[in-house]
Every structure is written in structure tokens, then in C-alpha cells.
Symmetry: D2
Subunit: 309 residues, 4 copies
Amino acid sequence: MPELQTVLDEIAASMASMTERGHVAHYIPQLAKVDPNQFGIAVLTNDGQLYGAGDADAPFSIQSVSKVFTLTMALGQVGDSLWKRVGREPSGNAFNSIVQLEHEHGIPRNPLINAGAIVVTDVVLAGHKPREAIGQILRFMRSLADDEGIYIDNAVARSEEETGFGNRALANYMKAFGNLHHPVEMTTGVYFHQCAIAMNCRQLATAGSFLATQGRHPLTGIKVVSSERARRINALMLTCGHYDGSGEFAFRVGIPGKSGVGGGILAIVPGKASIAVWSPGLNKVGNSLLGSLALERLAKAMDWSIFGP
Amino acid sequence: MPELQTVLDEIAASMASMTERGHVAHYIPQLAKVDPNQFGIAVLTNDGQLYGAGDADAPFSIQSVSKVFTLTMALGQVGDSLWKRVGREPSGNAFNSIVQLEHEHGIPRNPLINAGAIVVTDVVLAGHKPREAIGQILRFMRSLADDEGIYIDNAVARSEEETGFGNRALANYMKAFGNLHHPVEMTTGVYFHQCAIAMNCRQLATAGSFLATQGRHPLTGIKVVSSERARRINALMLTCGHYDGSGEFAFRVGIPGKSGVGGGILAIVPGKASIAVWSPGLNKVGNSLLGSLALERLAKAMDWSIFGP
Amino acid sequence: MPELQTVLDEIAASMASMTERGHVAHYIPQLAKVDPNQFGIAVLTNDGQLYGAGDADAPFSIQSVSKVFTLTMALGQVGDSLWKRVGREPSGNAFNSIVQLEHEHGIPRNPLINAGAIVVTDVVLAGHKPREAIGQILRFMRSLADDEGIYIDNAVARSEEETGFGNRALANYMKAFGNLHHPVEMTTGVYFHQCAIAMNCRQLATAGSFLATQGRHPLTGIKVVSSERARRINALMLTCGHYDGSGEFAFRVGIPGKSGVGGGILAIVPGKASIAVWSPGLNKVGNSLLGSLALERLAKAMDWSIFGP
Amino acid sequence: MPELQTVLDEIAASMASMTERGHVAHYIPQLAKVDPNQFGIAVLTNDGQLYGAGDADAPFSIQSVSKVFTLTMALGQVGDSLWKRVGREPSGNAFNSIVQLEHEHGIPRNPLINAGAIVVTDVVLAGHKPREAIGQILRFMRSLADDEGIYIDNAVARSEEETGFGNRALANYMKAFGNLHHPVEMTTGVYFHQCAIAMNCRQLATAGSFLATQGRHPLTGIKVVSSERARRINALMLTCGHYDGSGEFAFRVGIPGKSGVGGGILAIVPGKASIAVWSPGLNKVGNSLLGSLALERLAKAMDWSIFGP
């Protein structure tokens, strides 16, 4: 087995020289401004060692990676009753996003696509004021990352609010079916803020590490979820974590992961390590192009695929 | 860790007493005649030990489980060029099966749904006569199962031919897009025969075991596929192996598997074991009800989930 | 040819004795309260004679019948450039409403379904304040009906605002594609108010009469639209005026018409007469059950089908 | 009112000089060979006068125009019970063709799209041998056209059989739902032959004339259908006769019509005339580009729109 830091350094060096870097998300104006020539990676192994390479300390907008954490919160609040309001199946191609909502009467296919994550946020809200719910999510992230420096990028949040009509359409649509309990603006407001959380790779790898360790955080020792729940969240990430590129990611990389349009990916090697990678350019299905490639190389080098040695 | 034979015996005993057993597939007349009060399970561990319980020696129609093996053959014949004709993404709900073909211009979403498996069979045909291709598939299965007794149930094959209009619709549809190279009746003819292969759990667990062992068959020692290809087939089974219940199976069971409407499931624990389970009654998405439950219990008892201990 | 008043009286008498009356719209609470045992019909012939029978003087919520009038206004304001933002094709079945929006990038299929009518209202708004646009629509209706008594039922408007999440979803969705120029709440606010206009059959038949008379109002003498535009609006009503029952209405009744979920239908006999009919109970595709039946009988009795004598 | 022959001559002259002529259907090899620089038009007025201009005597493949005639035959054979197997609604956009079949359990939306016409042909077959059914259809066409010279172009029929996989997909799909009573190859074989009927504009205008005359053929005096059935067939042509261009055709031309990919259109002016027009180049939704334009001009010049003078 090669030395992990060496592998990360080699990957970071290799990524720095790539010319095909994908396209930065353009539909959220604030994200469109990000320099695509960045790449960071961090790994927290289950023994508590934190490794990093490239721009591992540069904060980025975690966007949909936040869905893993609000899902964890919602399951903590309402347990398996969550699954009455959201499914556990991959969504098929992007084209079907809203027709499936129609076909399945307002029940989104899984909690890691936008519609499902909006329902999850609606659960987290739980009658509180949006400001309180946002605070609660932020505290949860700080606690998991073991770092009080994590913040919400308000310019990004505003940018999302100004352009988030697609998400409001989903929210209204689910509300028409009775699957949104708070006012649309309230739930989407919290959702836009959770997406705007800024973290760097070291923080994100640390925050997700409980999923690699049967639910107990390797640094803080806190039992975040049961081992069964950790397994199940990993399973959801594997089947649903990369939108319509989930099958491809499983095929090429072979570990559970959740991507965001900010270019970040959280990936979990059960029993071994938590990984955060970031590069802003996206492939055609909206996942970080270099991030996916880096994870493919890392999993291969370290023999980390869950589908076999 | 409990003793495997004990676990299997307990599971078989428990399944015998279940009253809710799902519904036997009715759309293929021959399958509708099968007694639902059957349950078999077999495990071949990577050290070459074969365990069984219940009706592990009763032959059943493997149906779509055959897709894993023709996929292996097609990849052996044409390599990664196969992926120009078939995708690698979960298909979303059943409803979308044919509209996705339309939307994606005749390229099926993955090789483990019917449309994709028909393309795979078209690749395996490779200009040969149907009789030869069927013979080749059967020899491959016998070789993998290390058992010359495996046969095609001709009554089932005829039953499929007499009722397989949905599959012919898919085949014609793909042919309209140029993604079927042989005449429809020829390709579907081979396809109907591969589905009609009869095997018992011991044979099926043995036949699939190369996927748990980096591609080298634990009994015969033959290198069937590379370790990378074994991992990738496992990834496809995990994301796409249970139709619109793939996410649920990953969530509950946590190991790659492929089901058939005959009630069989092949499941792979990478690095550890190959499992075949069979019970004819299906759940509402078409996967063996008791087979899925048995695998959930087995994975839990043996700590075999790929998503974490 | 029978005497028209006699025919109307016979139809009204016949409808009074019908026991199968359909179901009153339930999703707008105010509409759900309406007594289903009502039926009214009025006809304004092109020579200026107004006939009525049954509850022809009872006001009802015109709902989607308003779409014909805002379409007329929007065409007056922006002419054929309207067709860049909305199509002219029937929408196919209800199931496809929102997937078609997705497939056609936010361009609704026609101006007589909800999505299209929301775009039309967005055109009518034209930068004005909602209150002004609502006033303008109301003045247009009063002018066409030659009756200052027409009003907006504010309880219905509020009821729509409280429950109109499906329409807000459509509006947000189109805004995500850039096909809504005002804020969602502003455009849908006006839309909810236009739907809540209350009119009786005599007023509605009078208001729509310009479509039967080459565009010149038979009572006021005002040229509302050109003869070509009148023909084209009639064509749109024929192909798109009854949602997924448009084909059936053309098949059975054979004249252009537009229905609303309040149970009203405006129907036009080009060159001859304008008809308004109302009965609150709806058939399974959302059109007035007795209204459709009454029109079928009237068209047959008077030989008014546009598809042949 | 202008003199009809003069109008036709002017239209034919005008069409001869058009440079934008659309694209000849390419997916049926025999049709792809047709010279696009042709245009013919013929009108049979209800008083029995036959007018023609341009290539009115050149035979062409009537293709889907044949659907109107097999529909007439099927209604004659089984009456309104036909509507249990096929609907009467426009199909919405082309994209939905097969998903709607799926959603509506094998019942095609209307008899003028391919799926519906295949069911209609299945009704016409009625247990006979394909050869007999084809002969029966041909005799019906000859009788209506009052011309024994009408024939089936066997090269076109073979071309359709060799490439008609999309239609076979539809037929198999409906058979899977039980909505095809004969073997797929038998029904589609007849269907391919009916599409390959060759006629010229004079013959086609004559053949369709019963629809303009309350069902009684103006030349032969034979009562082909009741006046009600004639009206209803006209209504179906208006709402469904031009695939996803039906709304546009109603909007621009304003008379019932049925197009074929051979470039022919049959159009009916109820109470006045039957029109056949032909020009091989198609617009983007598959209807004759110049044929549609010629009908728009003719309807305008003669004041023939059914939606008002």
C-alpha cells in the first residue's frame, strides 16, 4: 500500500496540469465568479490522521454536499418516519425530475436530489423560525468539523434566493401535494442558506468522518448516528449522490459520495477514511470533473473500492 | 462472527414460517405455476466452501439473473466499446423505461434492465446463429457453475416467446434507432432462452463466485475477468440490479445483487462470498420478497454490508 | 329549424331532472361550497337577440373561461409576438403538463392551459401594478358584457391564493426558464383574481359574442378584434379549450368552447351565435358535465356543428 | 368570391417558384427518392365539379392519409365499440407518443396517429388473411375515388416493411397490453400496404368527398357514412390530423385535414368541398410544407375556414 500523503501530493500535482477542467456552475452568479484553476483534497483516516494537498484550506460553497448533513439531522429528529415523505431510489435521468414528482404524487425519489433535500429541510425546520433552523444547521456543521470558523456565505445565499426559481417550483409543487409543511419561502430560505455554507476540504472531510466510523466521530468521539444509519446514509450516497452520474461514479470510483455544484465532493470509505475533494469545474451532469477523477485515482491507488480489491 | 451454516439454517427455518410470501410472476404462464412455498439459499465463500439451506438444490428459472453473465460475456468479446451501446445509470422508476429509450435515442440506461440486456445479447450473438449463441451461453454457465447439469427449460422459453411482446417492443424500438444489429426475432429468441436457464442455488452461487474473488473462480481457478471488471460489474449490480428497488436493496441489504422474476437473486460480498437465494414470491417492484429479506438478515448477521461494519 | 327559445327551455328542463351531475371542484374551497343542482344557459345570436333558460341570471366563478379574454387582451397589446412565449398545440394528457414545460424549455403548449394563461397574464401586466392590471381586465369584461355589474369574488380570489401552489410551481418553473417577466407573486396574484371574476350566463354569452361576429360586438358595435384573430381564437378554443377533453368535445359537440372549473363554458358558433352554459358539476377531465351535454344537444338541435350539417 | 380554378392556378404558380420546400421524408428509402419540385392540388366541390392545378395527376404515396379511410371502414365494421380500443384526444407532442401508450395501458390517444391507426387496421383485419384485408382496403379506395386505376406501390410497401421497426415496436407494445388481436407481423403487414397506396390529387379529393357532403358521395351517390359520422371524422381530423402540428394547422388553415409523410394532405370543407394537395417536402413536424401553405391561401381566398368568415 502506498503512503497516503504521497498519493495525495501526486494527485494534486497531476490535477494542477490538467487543461480540461469542466465548466464552473453559471446559474448561480456568485459561483460563476470562482476561479476554476483550483483543486484541493483532504483525507481524515479513521485513526484520526488528517492529510491534505493542493488548495485543501481554501473555503468553497458546499452546496448539495449539505444534503448529507441535513439528512442526518432530519433522521435524528424524526427517525424512519422521514421515509413517508421521501423515497430511497435513484432518480433516473435529469429530465424526469419533475415528472417523477408528478407521477409519485409529490414524494421525491430520494433525499439527495433537490426536491428531496427541500423536504428534508422542511423536516429540520420543525416549526422553528428560519433563522433558528439555519443557526442549528450551522452549529451542527461546526461541531462535526470541530471548527467554529465555518460560516454561511451571505452573498451566495442571496444569489441563490434571487435565482432559485426552479427550487421554488419544486417546493410549490410538493406543497400542492401536501408534502411541504411550512410556507414555501420559509423552507426554501433555509435551504438556500444551507447550500451557501462555506467550508474547506479539511473541514468537510472532518465533518463527514462519522460515516466512515460506524457513526462515532474519530476526533470528537461523539456518537453521531448508529452504525446502521451510517451504513444506510452511505448506501444512499452511493446510489443517489451524483444525480444522473451516480451509476458512473459507482462504476469508476466505487465509493459512496455526494457532490455539490460548487465543485466539492464528500466521499466515504467505510471503515477507513473520509475524503473531501474540491475543484470548481463541473462535468456535463454537474459533478466536479477533476474531483471525480482525483477520487478515481485515489480509490485505485489505495485499493479503497467497496466493490472489491 | 456466527457460524455461517447455523445462520443459513436459521434463516431457512424462519422463512419457512412466513405467511406473507409475495406473488409469483404471472405474466409468464410457466412461472405462474411454481409453488410459492419454496425457499433456498447457498453461499460459496472465497475459500471454496459451499454452504446451503432450504431448497438449495431445487432448480428454478434464473430469468434476469442471466443478465450478469451475458454482460460478462459481452465485455469479454467487445470490451469497453460495449458502453457506446448501453449506459451505466440506474433507470429510475419503471414507468420511464420506454420514454427514456426515446429520450436517449435508443441507448438503454444500463445492461441490467431488459432493454440493456437485449443489446448485450445482441453483442453476444455477434453474427452467429441463435442456436450457437444459446449453446455458447449455456456452456459458459456450466463452466462457471462447474456443473454440466445446467439446462434450458424449453417450456419456459416457449412461454416467454409466446408472451414476450413487451421485450419485442423494446427490441424493435432500439432497432429503429440502429441499436440492434441482428433481426429482432433472432436477438429476442436468444434472450428468451438465456432467461429460461434453470439452475439451483448451489449452482448459481458457484457461477457468480468469480465476482467476489477479483475475477478468479475459487473452485476452477480460471481467471474469468480482471479485478477491475469484477468491481465494475459489482457496482452495476448495486446501482441497477433490482430495477426500481435497487436503492431500497442497497439501503437495506448493502451488497451488490441481481434479481430475476423467477424469484432468484445472486448477491456478491466482494472479497468474501457469493450468495444465491431463491423464493418465487415477488414484492411489488418484482424482486423476491423472501429472498431480499433473507439477504438482509444474512448481511446483518455476517457483517457483510459493503457500506460499513 | 326549431325555435331557439323552445330548444333552450327543453334542455333546461331536461337537465333539471338529471341525477348524475358530476362533482363540484373541491380543490378551491370556495368553489366546493356551490350547490350542484344549478343549470343555466344563455345564447346571444348574431342579430343581437339574447335568449336564456334555467339559472341564466345566477353569477358563477368563470375561472378558466377568463383565459379567452386575457388572451384577447394580450394579443391586442403585443400581437403575434405573443407566440414566442406560448405555443398553439393541444397539450395531450394532463399527466404531461409539467414535463412538457420541461421538455419545451418553459414555453407552455397553448394559452388556454394554466401555464400558458399565466404567461398571457404576465403579458397583460406589462409593468403595471397588479391592482391596475386587475382593474383593466375587469373593465374589459364589463365593456364586452355591456354590464357594469360584473365583479371579482374576493372570497374566491383569496381561496385561490391560499391554495394555488400548483400554479405557483408552474410560474416559478417558467421564471426559471426566463418566460415570466414579473415576480411570481405579482403575476399569479393577477391570475388568481381574473379566475375569480363572477358572471352569469347572459353576461358571459354577451362578452364572448365578438368571436361569433368576425370580431365586431353585435350589441356595442365595437370592433374588438379582426376577423382573422376571431377565427384563430376560435381555432385555439376548439383544439385546446377543454384540457384533455378537447378532442372529445370537438367530437361530440363540434363547436369551439372554453370551460372553467367553476362549471361554466363559453361556446362559439362562428357566424351565428355565442353561448354560455353553466352547471357546477364536472366530469372526470374537469369540464362541466351537464354543460357539455347541453351544448351537444343544442348544437345538434340547431345544426350548429362546424364540422358539417 | 373569386373563381376557384383561378385561385388554384395562382396557388400552383406561386408554389412553383418557392425555394424553401421542406425536406422529403428520408426514413422510408423509397420516399426519399421523390423529386421535391412537385406540387399538385385538386378540389371536388359538393356540386360534383372537379378542379385541378399543378401536378394534380401525378400519383404519390398517400401514407397516413390512408388512416382516414381505414377509420371509416373500421367504424363501419364495429361502430362505436371501436372507441374502447382507441381514444379521441390529440396526442400532444411527438415525444410523448410511446410514454402515453404506457401511461394509458396500450390505448392509443386517437386513430390518426400511428399507434391508433395500427389498432384500426387490426379491426379491419377481422380475422381475414392479410392479402384479403389489403384487397378490401384497395377496393374501398377505388370505389370512393371512382377509379379502378388506384394501386399499391409494392416497392414502397417493401421499403416500409424493411424499415418499420418503430411501428412494430408500437404494435408489440399494444399487444403486450392485449390491444392487438392479430399477430404483429400480420397487422403491421396490412398497415404497411395501406400506407403504400398510390393516388393522385384528383383521386384523393374524390375519395374523401363524402366527408364534405354529410356522408353521401357527390359523384357515386353512395351513402358512405351517416352525417353524424362524417362530422365526427372531420372533428378528429381537425384536432388530430397533423400530429403535433394539428393546433397550428387549425390556427392557420382552419379546416379539417389529414397529412401523410408522402407530402399529401386531404382537407375537408364541410358542406362545400373536398381538397387534396401534394408536395413532397415536409416541415419540421412532418406535414407537407407547401401543401399546408397552399391550403392556408385557398381557405383564405375562398373564405372556407370553419372558424368564421
